[in-house]
């Protein structure tokens, strides 16, 4: 019962091939037991034991993969608007197909839809070629015109005597109810067509999409390839219509691929990610629509892929909004405590390194901050193990006002002296090598000291031939001083 999903898929495909005479399983059956509690329903869905559930789940996954894969090219070739137009332009074709066959014969409806879609595309290119109209207006015109016509026709059909049970409205917003095993055939056909085309024409499609004029120069029929993409798009849209609906099918072409575009910049990876994201939104949306009884499948599936998009937008490790916000914050914190440590060094220096500890008030003066703020900054240093604090005098009885003395730990000293070293070496480098005036270098060094790497610092030291003093005459701590944990005697004696 708990076969892995791929085995289920294989099993389902086998059924499709073998059972020509398979009874039409209407998914309408699945909502009959609506009074059962939702846990049972959920278990029933995810175990995929019920054949009707197998069909709708497989259908939703196939649609997700189809649209996801197709979307990779739609988005990278900037055909999003085109996809939207194409999907809306098919609606009159469905209505006309219904009038023709006087029934909901899928094949006739699909042929009608495809023809109507291409009529729309043809009108766009005619308008573009023979009028001054720009492409976006032409698309907008065809999209809304065809859509309006389609809605009028469908409304009319539903009000006509034999139209009450037509179920044509499901082509607007999509529905899983009424999905039969026969409906999976065009989906499978579409998927194999897409996969074959994408594998065989991988490099041709890539080149003609990126650089059409170069593609022509090496003899690629760019227009024919573009037309192939259109045909595939049309197949993909028409075969997904029943489940997703005219209004939102283009969203499924755009959103998974746009999400994949946030994750990677390679076409092959975009296709894989986008297919997976499409399948994921398909199955989850299908589940929610199954649980929610009256929720239309199309919007729910599209909503799922939108949520996936938002999740990636906010949480993707490399470029997500939240991770990069955290990185910015962490960098800000680091700079703050590095500056505090640097100020500690400067206080020690102003006291000629006579003792290893110094009063907290001196640091507050140096940083130009209030005692409370410095209290907090020192607190951070202590928590991170960069400094220690002691009250002097230690005896409570003493009449002298007590004073808080701070001293740096070896790791605190290392960062403090490294910051000073970076700062002063960079100042010297700017004045000596880039002929900056000595009074212009401080602000730049304030920023560079935090990001310049140790390798670059050593390089600068070599270029400047192991300098002892910065442009303002202050001593530059050497790597040796940092390692030793205190300044070497000559520097101390210097002060």
């Amino acid at each position: 019962m708990f076969l892995p999903i791929w085995k289920k898929l294989k099993y389902m495909l086998l059924i499709l091939v073998l059972s020509k005479e398979a009874s039409v399983l209407k998914a309408a059956q699945i909502s009959s037991e609506s009074d059962k509690d939702w846990i049972n329903q959920a278990i029933r869905f995810w175990t995929f034991t019920d054949p009707s559930i197998q069909i709708i789940a497989l259908g939703a996954i196939l649609i997700g993969i189809n649209c996801g894969l197709m979307g990779g090219y739609v988005v990278s070739r900037r055909l999003s608007m085109f996809g939207d137009t194409l999907s809306h332009a098919v609606l009159p074709g469905i209505a006309v197909g219904f009038m023709f066959s006087q029934s909901k014969n899928e094949a006739v409806l699909m042929i009608g839809a495809t023809l109507s879609g291409f009529l729309g595309v043809g009108i766009i290119s005619l308008l573009k070629r023979h009028t001054k109209m720009k492409e976006d207006s032409a698309m907008g015109l065809v999209l809304s015109g065809f859509y309006a016509l389609g809605i009028c026709l469908i409304t009319y059909l539903q009000q006509s005597p034999n139209g009450g049970t037509s179920g044509l409205e499901s082509y607007l917003f999509g529905s899983l109810v009424g999905l039969s095993d026969r409906d999976l055939v065009p989906l499978c056909f579409c998927l194999s067509l897409i996969i074959i085309c994408f594998i065989l024409l991988n490099k041709e499609l890539l080149l003609s999409g990126f650089d059409p004029s170069f593609a022509r120069s090496v003899g690629l029929p760019v227009d024919i390839l573009q037309f192939c993409i259109w045909i595939l798009m049309a197949f993909c849209i028409v075969s997904s219509l029943q489940v997703i609906g005219v209004v939102l099918v283009s969203a499924l072409l755009i959103i998974p691929a746009a999400t994949a575009g946030l994750l990677t910049y390679r076409m092959s990876q975009i296709l894989v990610y986008s297919g997976i994201l499409g399948a994921l939104s398909g199955i989850v949306g299908c589940f929610l629509s199954f649980m929610g009884e009256r929720l239309p499948a199309g919007p729910v599936i599209v909503l799922c892929s939108t949520l996936l998009f938002l999740a990636v937008l906010f949480f993707s490790p490399a470029r997500g909004i939240l991770p990069s916000w955290f990185r910015t914050r962490r960098r800000g914190q680091r700079i703050r405590f590095e500056n505090t440590l640097k100020a500690c060094y400067q206080v020690l220096e102003s006291r000629s390194f006579s003792s290893q500890s110094f009063p907290q008030t001196a640091l507050a003066q140096r940083r130009g901050k209030s005692d409370a703020e410095i209290e907090k900054e020192i607190g951070v240093l202590i928590r991170e193990g960069y400094a220690t604090r002691q009250e002097f005098p230690t005896e409570q009885k003493s009449e002298l006002p007590s004073e808080t003395m701070v001293s740096l730990t070896p790791s605190g000293w290392e960062i403090a002296s490294r910051m000073i070293r970076n700062h002063r070496l960079w100042e010297l480098y700017l004045t000596k090598e880039a002929s900056y005036a000595p009074d212009h270098v401080h602000d730049d060094a304030e920023k560079i000291e935090h990001i310049i790497g140790e390798k670059t610092v050593r390089q600068i030291e070599r270029i400047l031939d192991n300098p002892q003093r910065d442009p303002h005459g202050k001593p530059i701590p050497s790597q040796d001083d940092i390692d030793r944990g205190w300044l070497s005697p000559p520097l101390v004696a210097d002060k």
Partner: protein
Amino acid sequence: MRVALPKPLEIHDLTVAYQQKPVLYGIDLEVEPGSLVGIIGPNGAGKSTLIKAIMGIMKSVDGYVKVFGDSSRKALTRVGYVPQRESVDWDFPVTAMDVVLMGRFGHIGWFKRISKRDRSFASECLEQMNMLPYANRQIGNLSGGQQQRVFLARALAQQSDLYLMDEPFEGVDAITEKAIVDLLKNLRNQGKTLMVVHHDLSTAKDYFDHLALLNLRLVAYGKTEDVFTHDLLQKTYGGKLTVLSEVGSRKLNEKQPTQEAL
């Protein structure tokens, strides 16, 4: 006596129109192998059009182009092309390496996969343009000069005998400009023929050994020292041939016949 090899490029009475408006009139041009030709002329002179017409991307109204004695469609693999940088969608999800590999497509053929040999050759081409460290960068993340180097690496990967380049110096930094000039001269010294659209008159004299002065008509073609004269430049840049342009488009738009029926 040796049989004369077909010339890299032979253009006879070529007329090209764009949206019912002629942009090149009756161009006659023969280029010897191993020439480094600069195509110069004012804006709208038809420089890019000439290149596109040579490759057959733009259909000619009249006349013919022969590349190595053949139609340009037949000599495709012998012609390398560097399009204008603006003609490309730089947000497209491809890496620098992918772009250079595109130069191999003409040799690989339909449906076939890219081989390891093609990959290592593409790496060499990137290396030659000092772009190997950027091989896996998305092409849109490169600077203008770097993008142009990638384009030239792709042209190298084409291993062609005739190169057509559309404004390769447009918007590149000084170092890249120098690198491109070196590459052009290098290729010329290997016996390749290069036609380069160029708009900077001050450098044209140093960069090219032949010049084609173009302004709807081919004003002059020849060795740089013969053609780069005040008179000819005056003629090239001294205003458009307004009458020719007007009459030409009237002729093309005329619905009625304009000559005796044959």
